[in-house]
Amino acid sequence: MPRYPLTDLTAAFALALDMLLRVDRDLLEIVGLSLRVSLSAVGLAALIGLPLGAAVALFRFPGRLAVHALLTAFMGLPPVVVGLIVYLLLSRAGPLGVLGLLFTPAAMIIAQCLLITPIIAALSAQTVADLHEEYDEQLRSLAAGPGQTLVTLLWDGRFRLLTAILAGFGRAVAEVGAVMIVGGNINHATRVMTTAIALETSKGNLALALALGIILIALALGVNLAAMAIRDATRARYG
């Protein structure tokens, strides 16, 4: 990447704008990987977290309170610790070493997925519990079974659950500790926005690092706006 002297905050904004206007090829690659990794992690985490959260909200099973408490506590999992655990699992010396996944985007997706599944599960548990209260009578009059209740509530709550999913995405795309360890910040292979920002900071390219940070924030904003636009469009048409 080009080198820029540190001047001040405005230099960072100018630089961010400049990189976007020039359509910097390295930048596109890094942005693309960031999106690929974090959206994949969110997709996986939603597949696991939404049903898990709904199950915790709806069903009375032994240890339910403990599971709920764990999910809520794990909303604050330290990314570095998650990265370290995934590293130890995926390392050639670890139990899953034969898969050869360490230092690949797949490893980064796994780490981010572990990081945000509790967030999506805990937030959706709350949403589904609220919905359950609203719809309790209706569901009972339909004599809905537990599986049907879960699916119905998740489906009816899909617009509210978007918030849980976006919270997970925000956490995934912004974390650096986990992807740094399991991805290795390898140029043209596993470098994402956050690890690039850490690298440029350590090179003393503070303006460039900040410019990348501005682009990352803009990116997160764009994803959120897009998700909400889709939600509103579908709600208007089918809601």
Partner: protein, 276 residues
């Protein structure tokens, strides 16, 4: 229910995106140090090597201690670091095949322009550290078991000073990479030991100046080792060896000598000279 028709695929789309790993045909993983990465050396060398051999080199740049740990777990094909005793131990314990000298540069002591310890222009690293300790001037240490940190510890020992005892006072262990430690030194107006390559290519020098250089003890030798395929069968021995061979052959040595930042040569190739 029309929504389900595209909401579900939308949810599954990222999973499909995740599948292609995007790997080139021949790749090796090299565990190396932040100094080689931060200085831009790899960005210069690797395309030359790849053009010649078709092998893509993926560098995981961490401190020497962590790089060795990665290689010991079999998570790299080649180890390229700068702490000879650790590298020799790595080979002796059977983790590596053979160690080769590649290049050297030197460490320097940088510090605030005001230089409260009065070490500017001196050439005795241990004496300079003693002066810094006596002045109780802030010193930013890597504190991360890296090659640079190990060098710094040996210099404190030579100076007869137990710097760790002052940890948290004037002696500040950042526990992070060279660049981050230089950022810290710049921020607190303190001294730091750094390799020359990182220093020259570092862009946030602010009030820092190069103050002490030229002590023989500041010599900084880099070595390369192929991770032992007898220990880790998955190690890409042929391609890894090709990288080791190229680095230590005239072509690679010339490429290292040709690498300049701001008109200065950052590393001096010396394969097969210092011997080991």
């Amino acid at each position: 229910m029309l929504t389900r028709r595209f909401l579900l695929p939308l949810l599954l789309l990222p999973l499909a995106l995740a599948l292609p790993a995007g790997a080139a045909e021949r790749t090796i993983t090299v565990a190396s140090t932040t100094s080689t990465e931060n200085s831009g050396l790899f960005e210069y060398l690797l395309p030359i090597f790849q053009a010649k051999t078709g092998i893509e080199v993926r560098v995981v740049a961490v401190g020497t201690g962590q790089a060795i740990k990665l290689a010991q777990n079999g998570d790299a094909d080649v180890l390229f670091v700068h702490h000879k005793p650790s590298e020799e131990k790595f080979v002796a314990e059977g983790y590596g095949v053979k160690r080769f000298d590649v290049m050297y540069n030197d460490f320097v002591i940088v510090g605030p322009k005001a230089d409260p310890a009065g070490v500017r222009g001196t050439h005795d690293a241990a004496a300079a550290l003693r002066a810094i300790a006596e002045a109780k001037a802030a010193f930013a240490s890597r504190g991360d078991d890296s090659g640079t940190h190990k060098k710094e510890q040996s210099l404190w020992q030579a100076a007869g000073i137990d710097a760790a005892a002052a940890s948290g006072q004037w002696y500040r262990e950042t526990g992070s990479g060279m660049g981050a430690t230089l950022n810290a030194a710049a921020g607190m107006g303190g001294y730091a030991l750094t390799d020359r390559a990182t220093w020259i290519s570092f862009n946030n020098k602010s009030d820092l100046d190069l103050l002490v250089e030229g002590d023989k003890r500041l010599f900084n030798q880099y070595g390369v080792v192929l991770v032992n395929p007898a220990k880790f069968p998955h190690v890409k021995a042929a391609d890894g060896q090709a990288f080791v061979d190229w680095l230590t052959a005239p072509a690679g040595q010339k490429a290292i000598a040709d690498f300049h930042v701001d008109g200065q040569q950052l590393f001096v190739p010396n394969a097969g000279k210092a011997g080991s």
